[in-house]
């Protein structure tokens, strides 16, 4: 069976690089599932959860904003954050979310607001992935 070559890269590291069977991505226009032989596509990624299926196993990753390029057999994900579910520290994420939410109440300039919003989106994505794991 055909496989997809999935690469997830952040500015800090290459988080994921493997052949997989299916990927579910949080696009800006809603979730989308990518199978091999998908039509070439370029899209934006919003913060959320990536589900990777390889064989019978599912992997979950929390990701931040970014871009995705899909060519028939390859999926390249560029994002500012990507963490595997098992590496997420729920307490830290919760703490980050609280901090970001309280910062939003303060008076901030545009630059700061953007940064805090990004931090908030990151922590929410992490929490979402982690809590789903718990179930």
């Amino acid at each position: 069976m055909a496989t997809l070559k999935l690469e997830i890269v952040t500015p800090d590291a290459k988080i994921f690089s493997d052949d997989v069977d299916m990927v579910t991505l949080p696009g800006v226009e809603g979730e989308m599932g990518i199978y091999p032989q998908h039509v070439p596509l370029m899209t934006q990624l919003s913060a959320g959860e990536i589900v990777v299926r390889k064989g019978a196993e599912d992997f979950f990753l929390a990701v931040g904003d970014g871009f995705v390029e899909i060519t028939g057999d390859r999926v390249a994900v560029l994002t500012d954050m990507a963490i595997r579910a098992e590496n997420i520290d729920e307490a830290a994420a919760e703490e980050a979310r609280r901090r970001a939410e309280s910062r939003l109440g303060e008076k901030l300039d545009d630059e700061e607001v953007a940064r805090v919003n990004a931090a908030l989106a990151h922590s929410l994505a992490q929490l979402k992935v982690k809590r789903r794991q718990g179930r």
Partner: protein, 293 residues
């Protein structure tokens, strides 16, 4: 002939210098390790981003973006990424030699790092803005620089932007390089630390037609500024890695030289001391022989 005291004083001062350069070497080498790690970690992202952008540029069709506008080059800007401090070998002078190649009249400089702006002021070139960046460059700092450049370009103040920085090859080699940054389009080698040959190879594989979601204009509108921000960020990282590597090597050489000097001086000192003792002994024996007679 210097006296033993002079030599002793000299040795002491060289020892002090060696101690300082040694300390600086230690500091630089620990910073270097961190900076190199950051620079290398950013490269896969930069490479993938380049790749993606090249595909987009090829398939965007009729769509154009203000940042891709090709105009006749009447005025150009150069983003000069230098260091804040000296004592890092020939790094800055190599860089400035490249910078001096740009025409004085039609080029405005945007500087990151103090050495660059000093050079611009000294040679009476035009300085548009000066930015600072920390030892571990933040994405926010890169964004500020990149936003300023984008504004200049979109407003039509400049028609072409190059970025001049020191590319990090390895600890012993850093190469000053000028890369075209704007207009986006000639993507052949527009990548900090990315092998352009590898880029060329992947370009050929690009498929025929792309879908864009939500739309080519929206995706490009987001991707292009982000690409520039990241490109600047990566360049800052490369420059920092180069700076610390170069400083580490320069300080190591200085320490080694000082050690050699101390060794030579100690030898001189001992020789002189021994000569003095011999002379004194000789005098004593002469005097004794004179008295004995």
């Amino acid at each position: 002939m210097p006296s033993t005291r002079d030599i002793r004083r000299r040795i002491k001062s060289v020892k002090n210098t060696a101690q300082i350069t040694r300390a600086m070497q230690m500091v630089a080498s620990s910073k270097m390790r961190k900076a190199q790690q950051l620079a290398l970690a950013g490269r896969p992202y930069a490479a993938l981003m380049n790749n993606m952008l090249a595909h987009v540029a090829e398939h965007a069709g009729d769509f154009t973006h203000p940042l891709m506008a090709k105009r006749d080059v009447r005025k150009r800007a150069v983003l000069l990424v230098s260091t804040d401090k000296g004592l890092c070998g020939a790094l800055n002078s190599n860089l400035m030699r490249e910078a001096a190649k740009f025409s004085k009249d039609t080029t405005v400089f945007v500087c990151a790092g103090r050495k660059g702006s000093q050079f611009v002021a000294r040679t009476r070139r035009t300085l548009a803005a000066e930015f600072t960046y920390k030892d571990s460059p933040q994405f926010g700092e890169a964004r500020a620089v990149s936003r300023f450049i984008q504004e200049m370009f979109v407003k039509g103040e400049v028609d072409h932007v190059d970025i001049l920085f020191t590319n990090f090859v390895n600890t012993l080699t850093q190469k000053p390089e000028a890369l075209p940054l704007l207009p986006i389009g000639e993507l052949k080698a527009v990548s900090a630390g990315v092998d352009s040959r590898a880029l060329g190879a992947t370009l050929e594989k690009s498929p025929l037609e792309y879908l864009f979601e939500p739309g080519a204009d929206k995706v490009l509108g987001e991707l292009l500024p982000h690409y520039l921000n990241f490109q600047v960020y990566q360049v800052l990282l490369e420059a920092k890695a180069s700076e610390h590597s170069s400083r580490m090597v320069a300080m190591k050489n200085a320490t080694d030289n000082a050690k050699q000097l101390i060794k030579d001086l100690t030898l001189d000192y001992n020789k002189l001391r021994q000569a003095n003792i011999t002379k004194e002994l000789l005098e004593i024996t002469t005097a004794q022989m004179a008295l004995g007679n």
